[in-house]
Symmetry: D3
Subunit: 251 residues, 6 copies
């Protein structure tokens, strides 16, 4: 058993509160254990310059932490005057992951701005961001669809993310909290579609390495956790919207 | 009656949820109508260079908005690489206001970092920030006091803020929401102590002016609203902590 | 009597030298005691993007200090690569104040750039900037008017500013110099029109508070000082231009 | 066969020129097809602040491209005044990867600065950087070792990197050049030790996904390519230095 | 004759007003025709990090223009967030030039900060800055010397600068104003000591070239102008201080 | 004889490798002793905003050093977030120098971007950059000319640069390496056309001065060195392209 009483394969409690904010087209507050992220999806009726005139849309993501989301207060990136490498890496990951399940042609020349703001951090903020942002984005697209601005929901499948890791004692665990994450030998983030296909796989041995067999174990653990996360997403999306995505997936 | 059905003197519904975050020494989520601000108070055991060796503490504040706190998404200041003039003005105001009711000597060589993060904006974000930050700061100081790191609670009085304004039709109203604020001829922010003394008074006619008599009316409106806000603060502080502040005030 | 020999209500010697610079449409060197500010007004035949197509003009202000305007050399903001919060607050104040006495429609789609550069600082630089900038702006508009680019002088009233404060001994004084300002309990800047209406009121207790009665005293002091400042402005504007403004005011 | 005539499993021609620069402790020019990277390793006798006093060293990496390394000139990051997200992601990857095969305790309180400057780019610049930087770093450590500043060579194994991908036609190929990379459905970078253990695995489907079986094929392709790269590294390190690393690995 | 009525060898009217500012150790307002520069010299009792512990002092210079010093308003460098190449080039030149006539050992571990702020520009701002800054610096050093903080005046000779150029018609002229400067084929700045030795020579053909013979003519013109400038400096320094410098020069 | 065995008038070994890079329109690797610079010339079919609609082209240059081009690693300007004064001065010099031998009208509304990246530094990097950049630019223009995009080669003469200096012992030497440069009393960079006309002359006494006679000696030394450099350029340009330039020069 893990120090917080969980089984190796057990996720922390997950909750997704939809329509958390008044202004954005889609928004959720996702809670995974003590990690809390506000994810919003804003639709803009134009695309960035490098995409213009191609009849396609774009998804772009920004990620940030409140200064006191963490145990020790971290300095605001706006005060530092620049965004850290870690933040850039995460926001590129979120945008890329979401684009993998969106039909950019079907969304028209629009941009979806995803904002993931970590209110409280306890490990797994980037994977919670992806899982929550997917729901926010689906709600935002649904609004466009209901207003007949687009003919089909431009989402091709569900998408969620979780972390897996190898602890110091060699145990493979899923959904690491901050304490586990800091001490893990190997940390892997897995982004997967509802179909079980990989979208992104980022495994890192920090001052450590991992074998082919360990990799297989990590992937198995991730997959089991992700199946549960898709269920939480479906609840947050409601039957009708989930149905639309499930059907899209079959086509 | 105002367009949202309020009387001229009526505040919007106020709610202050304490201990909203896990990590900071003090934190609240303050809700004033549709305006929601997370205020946290973090204690650091040193002071900024310009204060060192004086045996005094310091209060500093930072203010920010989530990109989608507003109706139209605003660009993150971290992306722009600099903090706007409006943000700087507000964070200077918050810090200055709080310092007016803190005995800096009694708090020792410590810094209190106040973070006000606007989750949702509908007018009055700076005054809600001050009202909420006071409660977060009091809780943070109380923690120090209970842990016997300081001998007395270094707070000398309650502190809250509200806005008053003159609408286009000349009516004086209190606690303006965004629609009223955008259209007001005169906008005034008043920061006051529990004792009824002014800490800060910022009245501005945007492309308009106001007379001495109108000023008196504005001040009267503000004072009435602030009396109510002190009650909300007392509820959020609890009887014991409120009592400590009330007693300090008498000394 | 004050330590520099002035009466509580006495302004420092004021001098406004017009057409101080060769290139700008309007410019003055305003001297208030040892405080010296070069104020220039430059007219540009377009407005910022957010104002375009509304048939209105805009006034924008910038404020800066020479590094050795102060007793201790201060680092240039261009070397720091960013403008401080104090500077931003002041330049927003100057622009806002001037716009209150300008008919933006009557000036056409033009921008007036106000530059206030403090050559020597001894307290009250922001109020001297406003008082001087008004004169520079009036001269610049007069040039447009004489060249028949605009049909009326788009100024609706005189505008000046001064500071008032409460010293440690409780005395209310007007036009604080640096030594007084540093030690004052309460500091208030008042921007007023020739008509006696308030445009901006910023009262601050730094680690102190002030009562309703003290506020009334401060306002009275400010008003008396401002009456004198309007006279200095009229001299600097000349009879003809002063007359145009006085008439506008009556309409 | 691939459009440049290679077999799916075939690397581009690889050349590693050692001691390419005069000043650094270690340096190489690595050529992989038309991709050319200058990698240098500089030893500094102190560690960054967050590492001080732990008796351990640190490896940090910087990555950059000449403006005309690419087909279209890209703007210098120094002109833009900031480093892009892509650059940050790559330099974090290079540093993390190298640290996995270095015994930080054995290197003492020193920093190795790795600089990877891409002179000419044709795909695979980050993997060429890792492969080349390992050789430069080993030479730099060897200099310390020969000068008796450290007792053992603090390297625990060889380290190289390559890319694998799935082309539009579903074919799995190794060491993608720019044309292949731009068109690939899936792109994976694999960093491996001489022992065959993974250090980093980054697989990305850009607007596409990949299955478990495809992942296995990709890993197999990467492993075969990496075996060849270790041979090129051994030639560039020479027999003696390669021997030291091989022995360390066995311990 | 030149278009403003001067002879080719004739300088514009020069005036140097000493002790122009209240706070700095030395300050002048130098006027050369319509070019006006405030030069101040501030003494700081420490040197920059790279000079520490060498028992020597340092001279550093900063240069800036008021936005409306020029015919068209130029954007403040503090607003742009960075200093232009032109500004950097000029401030490096001023510092380097002054250091050539200062005995850095004799001034002790101090920094002289030179600030040259152009109030009004009409060509030759950099040469006027050097000529004026020398006088400000000499006064600042004299203050140290009179206060017995240094044993000798650490200045080894006079220093002044002027411009020479070749106009479109091939005429060689001295002290170009803005109109001449903009149209000149060749522009040369000459910094010289009282002794007639060169300190800095910067000749530039903008889209043009100049021959060896033309160079000799330019140098002759500069030398004649500089002799006059040394006289203006002596007047501004006064007899006593000029005498000290003249004597130092002879040693 | 000099400490590296050269005669006072002797250049270091020079080598210019043409077409060093695959992508740019023109590129060379120039080697002058241990100084190595990659110079590339990129042609863009538009001009900067301030040049538009004049029917003329523009030449702009950027200069940078690899962090480990120097004996001690220097911090990347992209990490610092700004370009140093030295870099700006050098890139302005390179651009200005090249423009002096280009017929901007004849090149059409195009920009030539010159990039000089110092791979290894041992003194004279700016003069090597100019000498190399001229060759790269000529090749780039030749490509345009051969593709009939321009009617004539828009180059009016050869252009090269070298340094001359006065060592501590008073000896005048040409082409200083880093050790000589650091210790020289006077350092002068001379940019000259094939015709023997000056384009740029920058002589600096760092904490020293130089006489009229020394200046004549320096100029003579520079001229002799430059004659040799023109020969190296002709070899690198080939007979045909050299011939075109020689003929242009005669016109």
């Amino acid at each position: 058993m893990r120090y917080d009483g969980r089984e190796p394969q057990q996720l922390r409690p997950v909750h997704i509160e939809v329509d958390y904010l008044k202004h954005p087209e889609g928004s959720v507050l996702i809670t995974v254990g003590d990690t809390k992220v506000i994810c919003s999806a804003s639709i803009e009726d134009k695309v960035p310059p490098f995409m213009r005139g191609q009849g396609k849309g774009w998804i772009t993501a920004e990620y940030s932490m409140l200064p006191r989301a963490t145990e020790t207060r971290n300095i605001r990136e706006s005060s530092k005057g620049k965004v850290t490498g870690r933040t850039m890496e995460i926001q590129r990951l979120i945008g890329r992951a979401l684009r993998a399940v969106v039909n950019l042609e079907a969304m028209g020349e629009r941009t979806v701005w995803i904002d993931c703001d970590v209110i409280q951090a306890d490990g797994g903020t980037r994977t919670a961001s992806i899982t929550g942002a997917f729901v926010a984005m689906a709600h935002a697209f649904n609004k466009l669809y209901k207003n007949k601005k687009i003919k089909t929901l431009p989402i091709t499948d569900f998408l969620a993310a979780t972390s897996v890791g190898i602890l110091k004692d060699g145990k493979v665990v899923v959904d690491l909290n901050y304490v586990e994450d800091s001490a893990a030998q190997v940390d892997m983030n897995v982004v997967m579609t509802g179909n079980g296909e990989f979208v992104e796989l980022q495994g890192t041995g920090e001052e450590a390495t991992f074998s082919y067999n360990q990799l297989q174990e990590l992937l198995k653990g991730a997959q089991e956790g992700l199946v549960e996360l898709f269920d939480y997403q479906k609840q947050a999306l409601g039957e009708e919207l989930s149905g639309l995505i499930t059907n899209a997936k079959k086509r």
